[in-house]
Symmetry: C3
Subunit: 347 residues, 3 copies
């Protein structure tokens, strides 16, 4: 399991940047400034961790130009140490090679097309006429519905479920427990009972999307639910039917997005936020954690709406006054009139 | 996969309503007003979509009596276009016929009783003495616990887990990843450690219930957790032990309901709301999304409690003042006294 | 399925306490005061249920010293009736004995070590070099990653997924649908696309931990995510990478904890609360349900921040005034100056 080692000189040949110090320094793993030791390379993305850089016993570090002289350690100077570190970590930690082939316990439906170099794990079910792309890894216990397509170089972790007729792009990662293509929540009241509205749309997911553990993405009611390329979804996100999420938007865990909401490109949505249905959110909108978005946002920017927490007693006191805020506002208005009157002004 | 076509005359024979225009018009699918084309029928449920009706290229539409003359397209006039559309869509999109039988990879416990026309999919486990009703479909990877009963005509999507000794009614739909009957969160502190309280109740689910993907319903601590008939649960809902949900209540995604809460009939609970434990909610209560219900609601009506979102800076400003709301109220009181004093009134 | 019966005298021999009434009274099951009947023992943990004690038809009850004379029923007097009840329920309701052995449909990777008395259920996958401890039960459909260790006497309910290289302690219970060790949400923006940061840490879980259904615990980015001994996690909790949760902390359902947050020991976190990343929460902190913790808490105590709910109209009115709270505060300040001026004070 030990990673291969790379010399700093080999690293900059592949990823760019310039070396200060011994270019023959070998590293095999990334680590934090505090924990890095022999053979490990750390990074400084924020000058506030300077103290930790000083104390670091890393074999080498990645720093920005401005911080190049903060350390005497062998170092790579990069434009953006954090993304450089991401690339280097991917180089040092390649995904394990999984042997191609279909496990004998897997069940493959009639007419399903599995690329010869795909990996289909134990106890996987692939529905009739489904397609699994080149190099894609489908781990144990996954269930792929009929006529669903999973693009090339995908990675489906164990126990993922994808319903029928969905389309998953290339290089898509789906973590365990995620459910793609379940019925949207479509019901109509009729004589005291809810009628189910068949959900006949699909889920269509673009390339380079990552979907977190236990996240759910419902199929469309009539049209499709669409996740555009490069979207990154954390765990336990709920995406309702007919939502559209613009390319390269990143959404943190536990967010809920109601039906037919349209989210722009390059948005960033904090954890446990919620977005009501039939809204439009512009591109480049940032939404704070734990904020309910109850109407459309047409302008890029940062938005929030969070009740500040405090000690229980203070909170109770605030909450009581909040309940009477309308009355307080009225009393203020009355006083303003009275003061004008006292000053002899015409009220 | 192409649906069967129906003439409008055949449709009204089955579902009621009256036709204006050519009763021989054939449709095979439902669609939105915008997207509907040849062979597709759309609906107008809300007059605000009138513009889309005018531009629609649908083969036919479903309209209310009041809107009957808004279009020249062949149309069905119905009392409630939306529920009519739901019924028509169910007619045009029947669930795929699944062949009865037990997949050879399924594992069936001793004494389990599977109806001859039930479908047990690949890699399913059915516990000892469990019962699966007539026509019920249990898809790949589901696990049904010992002595659990699933009623007739049920539909369990892949990777559903139902623990032992639960009772599921007829015509129940459970989506992937749902977990029914896990232990409730029952712990008691004892000498610095939490003791687990065995959860010996069951989950009992009525007929016609639908349960969304990755929703969890815990078994009761002593008595049962009960979901009455016709309840509709969206995805990622958490229902704690000993909750009771009244018939025909509909709950949107990401809602959490704490232990021993009792929810009435015909309630509607918005997404990401939360309900504390040991509360009673009356029938016909509507709760807004993202609202915490912290005490019982005895009266039907609509309830909400959401911090309004705004641009980050404005929110911060509001939050700061909110923290000092108690002081603000005191200052207002002081001023009222001072004004009375200035006016020569007895303070 | 009928439990064994115990005489009160046998019970106090094992669990302590003293008997008032017939020590030969036999009980086989615990129940609530309302429902308990023949052979069932109930408990009174809170004097407010005294009425129910009076009406109870239980065979026996557990009461505190102070309440010992509130009933004439045979009774056990215990220091803490609730934890006594927990122990007694565990005595009366032992976990079903599961036969040791590996189900023939299970798939065991090369070099995996399964204790001879462990139970590996149907359709389980155990990765190469994984280890399953003595007496541990791994139920149907679970997937255990390569090199992951599960300690002795564990209980993994069906369809649990644990990724590679994780460490699970002794006596750990994991409920269905839980996902342990999925990648943390680590991304870096680079030329308009998100780069994935490999998540090379592990999840390390201490002894006596319980993890609820569909809860997710992400692996660390560089260092580990750590759940210390005795922690109790309810359902649908999301724990991000590099979180550390102190021993014996209990967290209710639907809570989200963002990356690198450190939670103290013996904390209690209410349902649907959320904790932002890179925070420290002291020991013995109690957090109310539905509260966002946006900064560190250094002092033990109870904290909350919840918008109080009300009828929809009242809420709207409050929300409108809340949006103008800053202006209201300014108007109050202005008036205070005017009043001072009217009173002839120097402004």
């Amino acid at each position: 399991m030990k990673n291969s080692s790379f010399r700093l000189s080999e690293i900059v040949d592949r990823l760019g940047g310039r070396i200060i110090g011994n270019p023959g320094t070998e590293v095999f793993q990334v680590a934090t400034l505090e924990k890095a030791g022999q053979g490990q390379i750390a990074f400084l993305a924020n000058a506030k961790y300077r103290k930790q850089l000083e104390a670091s016993r890393a074999a080498a570090v990645i720093v920005a130009e401005a911080d190049a002289e903060l350390t005497g350690l062998p170092r790579i100077v990069a434009d953006d140490p954090y993304s450089y570190f991401a690339k280097l970590s991917a180089l040092l930690n390649p995904l394990p090679v999984v042997p191609p082939g279909i496990h004998p316990t897997a069940v493959i439906g009639v007419g399903a097309v599995i690329a010869p170099d795909a990996h289909i794990g134990a106890h996987v079910s692939v529905g009739a006429a489904a397609r699994i792309g080149a190099g894609t890894v489908v781990m144990a216990g996954c269930v792929i519905g009929e006529r669903t397509t999973v693009g090339a170089q995908g990675q489906l972790y164990p126990n993922v479920t994808i319903y029928h007729d969905c389309v998953i792009g290339r290089n898509v990662i789906v973590h365990s427990g995620a459910v793609i293509g379940a019925d949207g929540f479509g019901i109509a009241m009729d004589e005291g009972c809810w009628l189910k509205i068949p959900q006949i749309g699909r889920v269509v997911i673009g390339d380079q999307v990552e979907i977190g553990a236990n996240t759910t993405i419902d199929r469309g009611a009539l049209d499709d639910t669409v996740i555009e390329e490069g979207v990154k979804l954390d765990n336990q996100i709920q995406i309702a039917h007919n939502v559209r999420i613009g390319a390269h938007t990143a959404i943190a865990g536990c967010v809920g997005i109601a039906g037919s909401a349209t989210i722009g490109r390059y948005c960033r949505i904090g954890g446990a936020a919620a977005i009501l249905g039939h809204l439009q959110i512009a591109d480049n909108v940032e939404i704070a954690s734990f904020t309910l978005i109850g109407k459309s946002i047409t302008e890029a920017g940062s938005y929030a709406g969070i009740f500040p927490f405090s000690k229980n007693d203070e909170w109770r006191n605030t909450a009581v006054h909040l309940r009477h805020l309308g009355e307080l506002a009225k009393r203020v208005k009355t006083m303003e009139q009275e003061i004008r009157s006292l000053k002899g002004e015409q009220v």
